[in-house]
Amino acid sequence: MRKVAIVGAGMTKFVRRALETPKELAYEATKTALDSCDLRLEDIDCVAHGSAPDAFDGIHQKGEYLADGCGGWNKPTMRVYVGGGTGVHAIIHGWHHIASGMFDTCLVVCEEKMSSAMPHAQGFFLTIFDAITERSLHPNLLWIFALEMNRYMQRYGYTKEDMALVAVNNKRNGLKNPASQFKDEVTVEDVLNSEIMAYPVSRLDVSPVSDGAAAIVLAAEPVARRLTDKPIWIEGVGWTLDTAYWGTRDLYYPRYLDKAARMAYEMAGIREPAKQINIAEPYDPFGYKALHHMEGLQLSPRGKTVELLRDGHFALDGNLPMCPSGGLLGVGNPIAAAGTMKVCELFWQLRGEAGERQVPGNPRLGVAQAWGDLMQVSSVVVVGN
């Protein structure tokens, strides 16, 4: 396998409703990523792009629709789609293209426009549930999160206040991100006083509906060294799918992530992730999910994560900053784009280009993770400078 580096990154602002079409959003992110490493489209060998449910846009097979905006014209182009896991999965897909020796450069572009779905994108999640054994109960996507959050809290004796700390942490980081769709800080009281949607999930525990796109440029080692003196290497990748019988898994622990994380660490030669990883971007569509995923990523002992969070361990200036980008809670959650945004963030952080939200101490290793499908897939990428 050849070494693969990230050499460029770019994204749009994440907004509740964008003027741009999906294709225009993808173009903005793609062009910004290309410009960031002084490449033109003709320098790109292939494209790995991603977008989550077609139903959001009401455009069936939207990968084909989107391809032009991702620089896919007349190039080998493949769409990845594993729901919320898409944004990181697409990067693994792009990594394969280059590591295999097939191509030297690859654009990875993920886009989501959720605002077109009326009256609310959430309704389309009804159709991810099993058509015969679940859907006639009229489930809302929140059910599954609420069931999982409640079980996680009960298992370790965590409180709603504990879980609210994540939204506070991530939204605070997000205020320093120029791509964020938020302007205001929130407090634990704000989270606890926000509308209870599906107990124990309150409105501010949840990431917003967003439109946006994010892109990175991947290159094989010799090309990467020619293009930049600060390549960010993809050191490990991992992904797994758990069973779609989600009620059969005990929801307090993300088993789907455990294996994916170990796979990525093994490839990266990481034996003690909690000590060796300097920055974590766990997938955080809900506050508790960031903590749940920190445990699955082996970055925090099970049941001790709230303690570490309260001690400032995961703060921007802590030992292991969590979601310095602001995450989905602090920047926004255009599904597929949000996962790619996390890898863009690691790219900027490890190059020392993250501006106001730069993690101090010259971080060397970062991990990003995304999660999706019927709560069953996890994609993990470890990057280093």
Partner: protein, 171 residues
């Protein structure tokens, strides 16, 4: 070295922009209809629900009683070994009190919240939970580990659907 631009595009539209008449929208509404065949294993499951019983499949290789029943065991990938009737009682593994409908619209004043739960049915292997609703219980009285029993629709109203069980109530 010149600092590169990280963020471009993503022009936020406000409610006013949308209603100003200067931003055009094209609207469409899809009405999609489907009729799903219920399959080899689930058809039997639904047949038994109509009879007021819960049936599971067994995998003798993995020593599992599997619910919902399935044609094959996803762990060892062998065909299921056979059918077993199990109880219509179980234990609440986790639950929620949900104030929104499936489409994210809010429940109305006076309307009862949904009470979804993962229920581990007695007789199935430990941890083989299914998603079902709770009923005949005050939301604040729901407990983890609470024992519950199925409340069935009257026989003549059952249609061979998971909704033949109205909900599970505490016992």
């Amino acid at each position: 070295m010149q600092e590169k631009v990280h963020v471009s595009g993503g022009t936020a539209l406000s409610e006013q922009d949308v209603h100003s008449g200067e931003i055009f929208m094209t609207e469409d509404s899809l009405d999609c209809a489907f009729a799903w065949d219920t399959g080899v294993a689930i058809n039997r499951y639904l047949t038994e629900l109509k009879n007021g019983r819960i049936i599971a499949t067994e995998c003798r290789h993995c020593n599992r009683i599997m619910l919902p029943p399935r044609l094959f065991c996803e762990l060892c990938f062998k065909p299921s070994s056979g059918w077993v009737y199990i109880n219509d009682t179980g234990v609440v593994n986790t639950f929620s009190i949900c104030h929104v409908h499936w489409d994210a619209s809010r429940i109305k004043e006076g309307e009862k919240p949904y009470l979804p739960a993962v229920i581990e049915i007695d007789g199935a292997s430990a941890g083989m939970g299914i998603m079902q609703l709770l009923g005949e219980v005050e939301p604040e009285k729901i407990k983890f580990g609470m024992k519950v029993k199925a409340v069935w629709k009257p026989e003549n109203e059952r249609t061979g659907s998971i909704t033949d069980i109205k909900y599970f109530k505490p016992i």
